[in-house]
């Protein structure tokens, strides 16, 4: 008889299972990894390699990082919410609660799996941008982009778990995630670059939500007109500053974690009439 498996080995086991399940579910893999790439093709074709509006960069230089953020968010938020609710509905979560796998290790493994897939989504997008459209990557902003990525993915994964805790069943979950993610993508400099003609209040409204902060902080790393490494609190005078954006995402993420922990259920919801 051997001792109990270590927490690290349990985490590793669960992470491998989650990744395997992800790549066996073609629809999830498509929406996380391939769909944003198709959007890059469409936008780059539509707008050619001309300069984009206020930013003064090529279409691909704007869209590759913006859609990379979209891919990461659809993995961390959309996919996580749907796959957790589906697992709950199938009784998978309940079964896991009956095993010695600690719930915290299970959650950590799911978050790690989401982070890894989100990283793949971003790497594929930026890689395609570089190879196909000559997108430029700047070494001095990579560290800030990496910090933005980690905080952003953590924030949206926590929000995905909030959706999973309030969603009554697997059928309503995609509606909840799409109804929040898609409209925000249009006003958060993800699908449409910042424009002078947009009303100021719309920008201020979008500022309340984390998506625009994720997009700005990440895309800034690819904007040649900004200067600095990104580790700054103020964007005065064209400085690349992730500080305020990361702070907003961290605040949203913290609140989301508290709500998700309080409301999370491992049991399939009992049907109304039993």
């Amino acid at each position: 008889m051997t001792g109990s498996p270590t927490l690290a080995s349990l985490f590793w086991t669960q992470l491998r299972i989650e990744l395997r399940l992800f790549f066996r579910s073609p629809l999830q893999a498509f929406f996380s990894l391939i769909f944003p790439l198709l959007m890059l093709l469409v936008f780059a074709t539509l707008f050619g390699n001309g300069r984009m509006g206020l930013l003064g960069v090529t279409a691909a230089q704007f869209y590759a990082p913006a859609l990379a953020v979209y891919g990461a968010v659809s993995t961390a938020y959309w996919n996580l919410a749907i796959s957790v609710v589906t697992a709950r509905e199938l009784g998978v979560l309940k079964r896991i609660r009956g095993t010695p796998l600690p719930p915290s290790v299970y959650m950590a493994a799911r978050l790690a799996a989401s982070t890894w897939i989100a990283f793949l989504a971003i790497a594929i997008m930026i890689g395609a941008g570089v190879v196909m459209y000559g997108v430029t990557v700047y070494a001095h902003t990579l560290a800030a982009a990496a910090v933005t990525f980690v905080v952003g993915v953590g924030c949206f994964a926590a929000l995905g778990l909030v959706i999973a805790s309030i969603s009554p069943n697997a059928k309503t979950t995609p509606a909840l995630t799409s109804a929040t993610l898609l409209p925000l993508s249009f006003i958060s400099e993800v699908f449409i670059p910042p424009s002078a003609s947009a009303p100021a209040w719309l920008g201020q409204f979008a500022d309340l939500f984390p998506l625009k902060h994720f997009a700005r902080a990440f895309s800034g790393a690819f904007n040649p007109s900004l200067h600095g490494s990104g580790f700054a609190w103020s964007d005065a005078g064209g400085t690349y500053a992730i500080g305020p954006h990361v702070a907003v995402m961290a605040a949203w993420g913290t609140v989301a974690v508290v709500v998700a922990v309080r409301r999370f259920s491992w049991e399939p919801r009992p049907e109304k009439s039993r």
């Binding site: 109990s4 199938l90 009784g91 309940k94 600690p102």
Partner: protein
Amino acid sequence: MSAVVVENLVKRYGENTAVAGVSLRIAEGEVFALLGPNGAGKTSLVEILEGHRRRTSGTVAVLGHDPEHGGRPFRERIGIVLQDGGLEEDLSVAEAVAYHASLYPRSRPTPEVIALVGLEEKARARVGTLSGGQMRRLELALGIVSDPDLIFLDEPTTGFDPAARRQAWELVRALRTFGKTIVLTTHYMDEAQHLADRIAVIARGRIVAEGTPTTLGDRHRAGAMVRFHLAAGVSPEGLPPPFAAAPTGWVEAPCGNPTAALHGLTAWATARGIELDGLSVVPPSLEDVYLRLVGEDATP
């Protein structure tokens, strides 16, 4: 040592009382069956023992742990087969078994467990492609792969074909010989009768009878049904009570004291030179006892 000790257990869902004051003790190495109709409270009771549901009141000790706070040391020693599902459909059978095994300190080899439940041919098939009964067998495999000391089986054979059912029974018997404690729920009398050392009949959240398969509901003292056929033309005159002639010729009566009744009957018959065709004495079946017990208190 008792593997399970339950005292005055109550479980309410809002206004609905699913478990209404149950006390029971299950010894180590015992096979204990909870027999009861739909909605009797079997799953509620078993899932409280597993740590899946919180009790409203009462005390529960399972392997010395309060299941609500058992944590890893408790969960490493129990195996659970839930009443329904909980399988990831995109894993293969072998992967699902190996994955579960890796969560526990000790486990049986994956191929051995797959063979025990008779899924060798499906080892590489995706879970989502299995039939209902095959899924159930896989769940059984996942419940025993960790070599647990105490195994909960909530309706383990519902949906099995007769051969699979026999095979599952063999498996339970084998586990019993390894000294495992087994708590199972079932609707099938014959299952309880074949497998259990002790049976509790539960109806409307209460245990209405408890005993071994032979003593349950005082079955061994409940007398017997005596039945025989009187050939046409034989006069039933003087037939001793409780027997009375019937138009079909078949005479049948429940006898509290079958010995005395048979004595009177055979004396009557031999004195007249009558042969009692098809004479039989049958004790009440477990099913009769069960239906009587839950009939008194059945769900509407």
